[in-house]
């Protein structure tokens, strides 16, 4: 069975068959209100059919212009600021810009590059000296790197160097 809304629309439009109409009208709880609805819909339809075409504008551009002007006058206007060239800045403006640059540079230096304050020797440190590349001048000398992260000590360990006798002056 069709839903009530669909049958109601068909009833208003007069598209319901005789066989369907009588039982549907029995179904209506407020017949008078339904008849008023039907009457109003028919009146609206007649009105729309009578005035189906919109009046044609003879000077559309003029109408648009007037409309835009009216919108502009009704809206609160935003203050228009004149664009200022950077070379026409005043000394305080330049000083402020310089200070801002300095602050940005300091923040970058502190955050990205390094913390210049030395940490204490005993403080835990994740960085320790690093041997990137090593070459010995003689094949008998062998070099290896010893890292101890726990002690934060890096040693370039050279083997194969000549033993120095006691006669070799150290200082």
């Amino acid at each position: 069975m069709k839903p009530f809304e669909e049958r109601y629309t068909a009833w208003i439009d007069g598209q319901m068959s005789e066989a369907e109409r009588a039982p549907f009208e029995q179904e209506l709880t407020d017949r008078a209100a339904a008849e008023t609805d039907k009457h109003e819909v028919h009146r609206l339809g007649d009105l729309l059919r009578a005035r189906g075409t919109a009046p044609q504008l003879m000077s559309g551009d003029f109408f648009n212009h007037q409309l835009q002007q009216r919108i502009a006058t009704e809206q609160p206007s935003a203050p228009v600021r004149e664009r200022q060239r950077w070379w026409s800045w005043s000394i305080p403006q330049i000083a402020c810009a310089g200070a801002a640059c300095l602050l940005a540079a300091a923040a970058l230096y502190k955050g990205v590059i390094v913390s210049p304050e030395p940490t204490s020797v005993t403080a835990e440190s994740t960085y320790f000296a690093e041997i990137v590349d090593v070459r010995t001048s003689e094949p008998e000398i062998y070099a290896s790197t010893v890292y101890t992260a726990q002690d934060n000590v890096t040693v370039l360990w050279l083997e194969g160097l000549d033993y120095l006798p006691a006669t070799y002056a150290l200082q």
């Binding site: 000394i91 310089g98 640059c101 300095l102 960085y127 101890t148 000590v153 890096t154 040693v155 000549d162």
Partner: protein, 151 residues
């Protein structure tokens, strides 16, 4: 002075200020003699905080500074460090830009014993991260060359 001129001067001053902040960094080097004795001498002030750690690595309980040398670090400028008459170091430094380097340097180090070059190395050093080079063995003990960046 015109305003663009003033702005240029201000920027130059900022740039120079930034350079000056690192101009004071120095590199310290020393030749150390490590040995084991029953009554070890007092740790030299330069090695306080390091001697114990060095002892764990090298196995010696006495550390003596035979000589030391300090030079200012300049970007890409060669420096000679001559802590003793027999040992010298040729150092060329470049500032490391990474945060992990903690204000350190990438150094090209050449260690010489008299006129003989022993080793040529590239190493990253930061102020609290010294580098030690195990040198030759002497009749009196083990020679160790120390390098440290000092802000």
């Amino acid at each position: 002075m015109t305003r663009p001129g003033f702005a240029l001067l201000l920027l130059s001053a900022l740039w120079l200020g930034e350079r000056e902040a690192h101009a004071q960094d120095k590199i310290w080097s020393a030749v150390l003699l490590a040995s084991n004795t029953a009554q070890p001498a007092e740790t030299p002030p330069e090695l306080r905080g390091s001697a114990e750690r060095l002892g764990r690595i090298f196995g010696y309980n006495q550390w003596v500074v035979l000589g030391s040398s300090t030079e200012t670090i300049d970007d890409q400028v060669e420096r000679w460090l001559i802590p003793t008459k027999h040992f010298s170091l040729n150092v060329k430094a470049r500032r490391a830009s990474s945060k992990e380097a903690r204000g350190g340097y990438l150094l090209n180090l050449k260690l010489f014993q008299d006129k003989r070059q022993i080793v040529d190395t590239y190493a990253k050093l930061a102020p609290e991260s010294p580098l030690f080079i195990r040198g030759p063995m002497h009749a009196r003990g083990q020679l160790v060359i120390a390098l440290k960046v000092r802000p």
